[in-house]
Symmetry: C2
Subunit: 304 residues, 2 copies
């Protein structure tokens, strides 16, 4: 099972964290941008060449420290077709380095369309009998607002192609409570979604005890995380909101089980832009990212 | 205002419908596929060349009948990078033909990431001072599960660049009720989302009386549509679920106001695959699509 592979990689690196690759061109060190803009101009192509060099440097510096990377699709879509090509290139490179790829796309739609999304990232597309994998990753994020028939196509491909998904349950942003915290009877909506996640997860549980359907639970809501950890015993948690969004190591503890497993904590800007803090030179961006990833790993392990 | 432009185009064509462009390669007539596969093989490129010819034929046959087309991103992402290029090509061609473009992406994320998505499709991205539009359309669909701070970046770009969005409120799929119909106090979740839509829509109302934030309300739930029509007086409705999903003309009536405005009804497979029904030859796929679009227009107008 794909989630067993994630657990293995987490154990191997002794690191329950994932490096988010959410690259705005503003994050890229000047010396890289200068080179790229000189060759390709201040264009989508120029921006993407700069980001590619940045991403590659980050992956080279991180691949033996972190078990996984999580590219955020929005920051690639933002650079148009060049950005899409950059996303594919980044995914391929991270795969070569043995990293577990969580593609953060938060896709959602009715059944027949969810099927197309699932084929795009988890499965294969059928071209008159030829099966082609358009952009294969290990795992994607999905949004549960459409209910079961928007999720089952992904679960079906998880079983068929040994993949995993994380469904949004309680997100890390300030306004996440507007809908997610509303009460239905004596339960919050995020608890109702958790009940759905358990249902979707049935029949997918691997030898690690976790199933193909994980949950996104923000670091910024530790009390809700404790409740959700109790509710979704067979789901791995993907925990955003650590670092730049304000969540600390103690805040993420509730998303873990007593054995130190059960969650993977994301940091994006904190790692990517580590060189902008302290005494680093911008040429040391990769070294700075590696140091921050190690610091984060040790901080997380110190509270687990 | 972008929504005023949509209303104008609807009036001009006397047609409150939008043609969904959700092209699986299976929908493409054999004679087109044969040609494309001969030249490019049964590859992503071959599939996309076939779909391009199909899409172009459909747009040529429809552009003077329908005010708008709605490409569904999933069916392009499903064909990888070639599919993304096809999506851009289709959008550009439909724009040239004067069609209002609703890109169905159902994007959603935390504020800083929603901003990136909004730049991708509604706004511009800043490359060291150069402003570039990566994939500009008139309007996108968004998912409200993350609340206000995941939506406001889109609203801000709607104001700045004269664009529009449709937020999912009550979707057309069978399981949409699992979360959307849950009661919170005496209101369903879809009604709570409607309250949010009204808040997001403030300050964006155009001369048509409608604002930049519209709502997705499925044709398959006419009773809920009647309630929602009363709740969101300044929101245009995008109505999926007509035709292939089972909604009829009478079912969509509740999404309209008494003046025949206030909603635009989508049909995808019904129009694209019209040639597979009745006595059409596959060479007549475009003619069949046009005939179905005209039939749909007249059917909708007969109940309004």
């Amino acid at each position: 099972m794909s989630v067993d592979l994630l657990v293995e990689k987490i154990k191997e690196k002794d690191n329950p964290s994932v490096a988010g690759l959410d690259p705005k061109v503003e994050y890229v060190p000047e010396f890289i941008k200068k080179r790229a803009f000189k060759e390709y101009g201040k264009t989508l192509k120029g921006a993407c060449e700069a980001i590619w060099e940045f991403n590659k440097g980050l992956i080279d510096a991180l691949y033996d420290v972190v078990p996984s990377v999580k590219p955020q699709s929005a920051f690639y879509e933002m650079y148009g077709l060049e950005g899409e090509a950059l996303l594919h290139r980044t995914i391929e490179y991270a795969k070569e380095k043995g990293l577990y790829i969580i593609l953060d796309v938060k896709r959602n739609d009715i059944g027949s369309t969810a099927e197309a999304y699932s084929k795009a990232y988890l499965g294969t597309v059928d071209i008159d009998g030829e099966k082609v994998s358009p952009c294969g990753v290990d795992c994607v994020t999905v949004n549960p607002y459409l209910g079961t028939d928007g999720i089952l196509p992904f679960v079906s491909d998880c079983k068929k192609y040994d993949k995993a998904i994380f469904a949004l349950v309680k997100t890390s942003n300030p306004s996440s409570g507007e809908l997610q915290d509303l009460l239905n009877g004596d339960r919050h909506i995020y608890e109702r979604v958790a009940e759905c996640v358990n249902k979707w997860n049935e029949g997918t549980i691997g030898k690690s005890g976790y199933g193909a359907v994980g949950a996104v639970v923000g670091a910024t809501y530790p009390e809700q995380a404790a409740v959700l950890r109790g509710l979704m015993k067979n789901s791995y948690f993907l925990v955003p909101g650590y670092g730049a969004q304000g969540g600390g190591a103690k805040d993420v503890k509730n998303s873990f089980n007593p054995d130190g497993l059960g969650a993977i904590v994301n940091s994006s800007r904190g790692i990517m832009c580590a060189y902008k803090k302290g005494d680093w030179k911008e040429e040391q961006f990769a070294e700075a990212a590696r140091a921050e990833a190690i610091r984060m790993r040790d901080e997380l392990n110190s509270v687990l």
